[in-house]
Each structure stands twice: as C-alpha cells, then as structure tokens.
C-alpha cells in the first residue's frame, strides 16, 4: 500500500536543480560552484570521503541549511519556502531527532500531523507506512529503547510522510540489517516518480542508483 502523490514537478522542470552552489562555514569552503540536476524518477548517489560535503549538500536541498551563494531549487522553488518543504522528505543525521520519551508511533503521528490536515489522515498515513515498512514492533516502543537501526527505519518512514516528490537520504542503510534495507529499497521502487538524492558509502546502494555525483577525491 503506498501513498499517492498529488503534486510533482512539471515534466520539463527538474525536481532538484543546483546552480553555482557554494557553501562555506567561516573561512572553510566545503562545496564550491557545484551544479547538478535531478529529474523525477532519478536516483542520484552522492559519493565522497568523510568531510567531502555530502551531508552539507543534502541539508541544503532539505532546507535546514542555506547556500552561501548560488541556488538550490526543488520543483522550481527554494527549500527555504515552507510550501517547497512540503515536497521534500529527508533522512538526515541525528539519531536523537525524535522525542526520546515518546513511542515511535507518537513521533510519527506528530510529524504526520505537521504535514497532513486532519488527525484521521495522519493516522492513516502512519498505519500505511507501518504496514509497508513492517514497523509495528518499532512503533510501539519508546524511542529511547530503539536501536540505531530501528531509528533509521523510523526516520525513513518519517521522510515518506505526506507523499513527498523529492527524497534526501543521508546514509539511510548504514545501520540497517539486510531485511530492513530490502524494505527500504522496495518502498523506493514502489515510488518510481520520486527524485532521490542518497549519500552512501555502500556499493549495494550505489548499484541501485541511476546517476552518481562524486564529491572530493574518490
């Protein structure tokens, strides 16, 4: 069972377009004059050694960081716009980004309510994702009692809430067992229109992508 996507970028518009993108932190330039384009249905593997700027790029696409110069556009609009962020789902680093004292279900329900009007719609979205990603056991646990892999599954489910058109995934399979990684890729396969940017060090993940972007030295 999958959520339907009511919105997507027009056919001739890139789902994600990055132009002359530079990001500095103080005196340190992490990414310089980067350009890329990801179409709907395309999966881009973002590769590079630690510190190459993979997470920085993904954060700028997700909207938690702004470019120092240049532009990042999702479906033609910057992610700093609230309406644009409704089209983006993100798995970013931060295992404590959930309310630790609440259960997985309470956490997912909260994020669903931010994206979907109506408690009923939010509840249905959580139930559908629970079935699809086999999260029942995780959802009933308090997040503080979840393993890193469980939290990654929960974070992936959160990214799918509200049927985004662009997914930004930072090492989403790093702590997953084979079965959970399989469910993640199966969920992406069921959403062929999604544009996906995935930072990864795993060859199995790269093999499932249609394009690669190498940052820093390979």
């Amino acid at each position: 069972m999958r959520q339907t996507s009511p919105k997507s970028a027009p056919r001739d518009e890139a789902a994600v377009k990055v132009v002359a993108f530079t990001r500095r932190f103080g005196d340190r330039t992490v990414l310089r004059e980067l350009a890329l384009s990801v179409q709907a249905g395309e999966r881009l593997a973002v590769l590079g050694p630690n510190g190459a700027g993979k997470t920085t790029l993904l954060r700028c696409v997700a909207g938690s960081l702004l470019p120092s110069s240049g532009s990042v556009l999702v479906a033609g609009s910057p992610p700093s716009r609230t309406e644009t962020r409704a089209q983006i789902g993100a798995v970013l680093p931060g295992e404590r980004s959930f309310a630790l004292r609440l259960s997985g279900r309470e956490n997912l329900r909260f994020f669903a309510r931010l994206r979907l009007r109506g408690a009923g719609r939010a509840e249905r979205a959580v139930a559908e994702l629970s079935d699809e990603l086999e999260l029942a056991g995780i959802l009933e646990r308090r997040v503080s009692a979840c393993s890193t892999g469980m939290l990654q599954q929960l974070a992936f489910a959160r990214a799918l809430l509200g049927a985004p058109t662009v997914l930004v995934l930072d090492e989403p399979t790093r702590s997953l067992d084979d079965a959970a990684a399989g469910r993640l890729w199966a969920a992406l396969d069921r959403r062929p229109e999604l544009a996906v940017l995935i930072a990864t060090h795993r060859a199995e993940d790269v093999a499932r992508c249609s394009a690669r972007l190498q940052l820093g030295e390979p």
Partner: protein, 266 residues
C-alpha cells in the same frame, strides 16, 4: 503569514505528551512552587513592612508576594521555558527535523510556547488554591474574571520576550545566561516581591514601563479587590507590540540560523 492551526495543535500536543512522560518532574515543580509560597508566608509572619499601605490592595506581605509568585510562574513559562526548549531541540537535532518540515518560524515559536502557557496557568490555580486553603491567603474579594483576564494577557505580553530570547538562543551560543539575566531584570524592579516605592525614583519610573509591573499590580488588584482594568490594558498594549515584533525576530533568526548552520550547532 497566518499560522496553521493543525501545526500549532500538533506541536502543543507533542509538548504535552513529553511533559506527561516526566510525572516526577511535574510533581516536583508543584512541590517547589508550594514551598516557595510557604517561604514567603513565613517571611511575612516574621517581618513587618515599614509601611503596610505600600502593599495595598494586598492585606499582608504574604498576600503581596503570592501575586508575584503567580505572575512569575506564568512569566517563567512564557520566557525561560520556551528558550530552554528551543535549545534542547537544537542540541538533539530535533530542531533540524522540525525545520525540514513545512513549518514556519512563527508556527514553531507559537507551537512550542503553547503548552508551557497552559501548564503555567494550571500551576497558578493550584498555588492559589493551596495558599488559600493551607496558608490563609485571603481571596474573599477576588474577582475571578479579573484574575483570568490578567493571566491570559500576561501570557502574550511576555511571549514576545520569550520568543525574542528563543531567537537569541538560536544564534548565540550558550545564550541561556542571557535568559537568566532577562528574568532577573524583569522581576527585580517590577514590584513582584517588594513594593517599587522602596526603589530610587528613576527606577520606579522605569519599573512602570515593564509588563511585569502591570502584571503583578493587575493580579494583586484582581485578587484583593482593586481595579485591574488599567493594568490589563497596559498588558494588552504590550502584547500587541511585543508579540508580532518577536515573531518577526524569531522568523529572521531561523533564516539566519539556516545561513550560519547553527540549526544544529551546540
């Protein structure tokens, strides 16, 4: 931009659920509040004010300070609690998880502030009930509508300050000290715990410009049979000016944090 109700409700419900998950902390906070009131009760029993008329309309020093404690509870909820929550979210990565959602800075500020207000109101009612039942706080002249009006107007009047402090926390490392300083400044010269007539004249004039002064004076009037409407109007004016300004400031601070990368920076 008008905040979306479903976002505010979601944030408020989550804050309530998190608070419910710490039952001991809630009990301890209540016990602390009651002990705090008891402290002023015994001070009032021990010391006599040099000029009791300075306390009017409060009939005793305990009654005077109890109104200050009630207001301090709401102000604490409106200011320090909000700034602390933003800092916690910043440290855990929860703030980034929120900022990649379709949520505006305004919604975030108001949503995180909502539950502490409700909790603050509830605590005030408990404190006043305990003080009346166990410590003989005289509430026979209290005007419930006045008490409710002053409390309800105190929240937005101070929310502006709380949201501005939360904005500072987003951008300035370890800005918690600023929050403590602001709390002290708000209460020192406000007449919360001693009459402002004890202060130098220039400080008395300054005190009358603070919302704390009007909140405490209005609460005292509502509790002990005075006129609270002028102070309520002053609080409303303060809220009308400070709240929109602070919301603009918070939204700008969120944008600046996105640029600086301090959404995550501990």
């Amino acid at each position: 931009m008008t905040p979306h109700g479903h976002v505010l409700v979601a944030l408020t419900r989550r804050e309530a659920a998190i608070a419910r998950s710490y039952p001991l902390a809630r009990v301890l906070a209540l016990v602390f509040g009651v002990l705090n009131l008891t402290l002023y009760f015994f001070i009032s029993q021990t010391l006599s004010p040099s000029g009791p008329e300075q306390l009017a309309p409060a009939p005793s020093y305990f009654a005077y300070a109890a109104a200050g404690v009630a207001i301090a509870t709401v102000v604490q909820a409106a200011t320090a609690t909000l700034a602390r929550r933003v800092r916690e979210e910043q440290l855990t990565g929860g703030l980034e998880a929120l900022l990649v959602q379709p949520v505006t800075g305004l919604e975030l500020a108001l949503g995180l502030a909502g539950f502490p207000f409700f909790l603050g109101f509830a605590r005030v009612l408990v404190y006043l009930a305990v003080a009346a039942l166990l410590l003989a706080l005289p509430l026979e002249d209290a005007d419930p509508a006045g008490v409710a009006t002053v409390l309800v107007l105190t929240a937005p009047a101070f929310a502006g300050i709380g949201i501005a402090l939360a904005a500072a926390v987003l951008l300035v490392k370890r800005a918690e000290a600023l929050v403590s300083l602001a709390m002290f400044a708000l209460f020192f010269a406000s007449g919360a715990y001693f009459p402002t007539s004890e202060l130098p004249e220039w400080m008395q004039r300054l005190a009358q410009l603070t919302p704390t002064f009007h909140a405490c004076q209005g609460m005292r009037a509502a509790l002990y049979g005075g006129s609270w409407t002028d102070d309520a109007l002053a609080l409303a004016a303060c809220a009308a000016v400070a709240l929109p300004l602070a919301c603009l400031l918070f939204t700008a601070a969120v944008g600046r944090a996105r640029l600086l990368g301090s959404v995550l920076e501990p």
